[in-house]
């Protein structure tokens, strides 16, 4: 029961902290969508980092290291340190400048303006929404599975609440966990929009970074120190050479570098970029992002490697962190704190995704085409709130319907989809010759190649083409289509160039 009390205290503190931010709200739709473009360097770093790092940063990194070994860090973390920061600098700051200059609050507003086409927005909108939804489901289902693992039966012992939840053996059922997580996030996003999400993300990011370090310290102490801990790890996991299902091939390691490009097209990250007070606010985010990744990932990867000498080789990768904590840490308070850290990593992405979908439905569908003047600012905020309630409700229902499906296999495909769309945004920002037909060709080529490989993979899960990540082919298809079709079609008008490129 103690871990549940710790988690309840954490959720209460999160709500109080996020709702406190509403004291700074200006009550306008600009404040609701982009925090009146007033977020400073530290909060921008925390909200961008917290949004980028899902529960995978704690749970997935440990499980993947348990599977693959030390190659996990280079494959997913240090490459992200270089590529994410490049995206923030090359894509984020320029989009922030264009967004501020023209008053944009969504990606699609930018693309519609840049390519001078309403229809292009209607092509891109469903693609972005469909790529975000599995990401939302992974968060809610991940939280439910975490709580079931924490409160479920342990060997011969019954679960934590056998008198309340007979059907799950005493574990808190997904219906309850999903409802609590969705309601807490909905409360502060509904009330404070983008500003509340930024404040909540700051709090949650500090929590999950601290809890990762806490778990690392306590587990290593229990194993007799970091030196003793590594000595009992499997030798095959200390190198990247492929053997015994561990390791990673050189070509996979190389082409995996396309995956972190996904941050360049995340709609929820785009919205965080627009909240920046100034371009200078990005400096800390760009510089500190690789360090923050290191602080979270190195301890978790080491825990995963240590686990190879402690847990059976057929242990579920997603449960490795929880199993190590459960096996080596007896204090229920610490167990509660680490679980709160995992929930913090999940919720710091969920809030931004709920908010961005509500913002997109409001601005890209309902208010699009000069309809904004028909509504007062209060009505616009109410509309966004109603959309957010609808999206949260739909996500909750889908998370229950698909609870037993392996939605986690879709994660890599969501990232691949967003990453493969980056030639579109890079060309739109830096290539004056990029045209609307080129943009259509790029999106269609990317979508077709993505769907082809997705089908080949059996609709989800890890899949490579002779070791090459499919995202590399999708990205190249999108880039080639953009360049070739743009070169053979009429260039954009001088007005469009003047509007989007500093002279």
């Amino acid at each position: 029961m103690t871990p549940i009390i710790v988690i309840a205290i954490y959720l209460g503190a999160l709500l109080a902290f996020a709702l406190f931010s509403s004291r700074f709200s200006r009550g306008t739709s600009a404040d609701y969508f982009v925090a009146s473009r007033s977020i400073g360097p530290f909060m921008l770093l925390m909200s961008v980092f917290g949004t980028t790092m899902t529960a995978f940063a704690l749970v997935g990194s440990t499980g993947k290291a348990f599977q693959l070994g030390i190659g996990t860090y280079g494959l997913m973390a240090s490459s992200s340190g270089l590529i994410h920061a490049a995206c923030f600098l090359v894509i984020g700051i320029r989009l922030w400048a264009i967004g501020k200059r023209h008053g944009y609050v969504t990606q699609i507003q930018f693309f519609r303006g840049r390519f001078d086409s309403n229809a292009f927005g209607y092509l891109l909108f469903p693609i972005l929404v469909l790529l975000v939804i599995p990401y939302l489901l992974i968060g809610v289902i991940g939280a439910s599975k975490t709580m079931m693992g924490l409160t479920g039966p342990k060997g011969p012992n019954p679960g934590m609440f056998p008198e309340f939840f007979e059907s799950t053996g005493g574990a808190i059922p997904p219906e309850l966990t999903g409802a609590v997580i969705c309601l807490v996030v909905l409360c502060y996003v509904f009330a404070g929009g983008s500003r509340a999400a930024a404040w909540a993300n700051t709090f949650q990011t500090i929590v999950f970074m601290a809890m990762g370090i806490l778990a690392f310290t306590l587990i290593s102490n229990k194993l007799g120190g970091v030196g003793a801990a590594i000595e009992q790890a499997k030798a095959s996991h200390l190198v990247r050479t492929e053997s015994d299902h561990a390791g990673v091939s050189a070509i996979t390691f190389l082409t995996y570098m396309f995956i972190p490009l996904s941050v360049g097209m995340f709609p929820h990250l785009f919205q965080h970029w627009l909240t920046a007070r100034s371009a200078k606010a990005f400096k800390l985010t760009v510089i500190a992002h690789p360090i923050c990744i290191m602080i979270v990932w190195v301890p978790c990867v080491l825990i995963g490697i240590w686990a190879t000498g402690i847990l059976p080789p057929d242990a579920t990768p997603g449960a490795v962190l929880a199993m190590m904590v459960g096996k080596l840490i007896s204090s229920p308070i610490i167990v509660g704190m680490v679980t709160a850290g995992i929930l913090a990593a999940i919720m710091s992405s969920l809030d931004s995704q709920f908010l961005c979908l509500g913002t997109m439905f409001t601005n890209d569908i309902v208010l699009h085409g000069g309809k904004k003047n028909r509504f007062t600012d209060k009505q616009v905020i109410l509309m966004a709130r109603l959309f957010i309630v609808g999206i949260v409700t739909l996500t909750y229902i889908l998370s229950l319907v698909l609870f037993k499906q392996n939605v986690f296999d879709l994660a890599i495909w969501c990232f691949s989809g967003f990453a493969a769309l980056t030639p579109l945004v890079i060309a739109a920002l830096y290539w004056k010759r990029a045209t609307l037909p080129g943009a259509y060709a790029s999106v269609i080529a990317t979508t077709v190649t993505w769907f082809y490989f997705f089908k080949q993979s059996g609709y989800g899960g890890e899949y490579t083409v002779n070791g090459v990540m499919p995202v590399a082919y999708c990205w190249l298809a999108g880039a080639v289509a953009m360049i070739v079709v743009s070169l053979v079609t009429k260039p954009p008008s001088k007005q469009t160039i003047a509007k989007f490129f500093p002279s």
């Binding site: 739709s29 600009a30 969508f33 982009v34 009146s36 473009r37 030390i70 190659g71 860090y73 280079g74 973390a77 240090s78 490459s79 340190g81 270089l82 920061a85 490049a86 600098l89 700051i93 320029r94 922030w96 400048a97 264009i98 501020k100 200059r101 023209h102 008053g103 944009y104 609050v105 120190g225 970091v226 030196g227 801990a229 590594i230 030798a235 200390l238 190198v239 990247r240 050479t241 050189a250 390691f253 190389l254 570098m257 100034s278 371009a279 200078k280 400096k283 760009v286 510089i287 500190a288 992002h289 690789p290 360090i291 990744i293 290191m294 190195v298 990867v301 080491l302 490697i305 500093p502």
Partner: protein
Amino acid sequence: MKPAVLIAIVVFIVLAILHQDVWNWDNADLVFGFMPIGLAYHAGYSIVAASFWAIVMKFAWPTRLEEWADETDDAATNN
């Protein structure tokens, strides 16, 4: 293109190549007695990446872009 931007692009490509770390692929030595060298290399790489971006911020910062962003148009007055 400013020389600083050109240098930054070249260094970025070099960093992307260095990320492959072909030297330590099958080396299981431990650094500081607890960290496999392949992991230590990439942890150090993260620090190098952060330092690289700090230098880029110093010498290739898009100052003109910031001034341009401040010239908001009438439709933007969403700010």
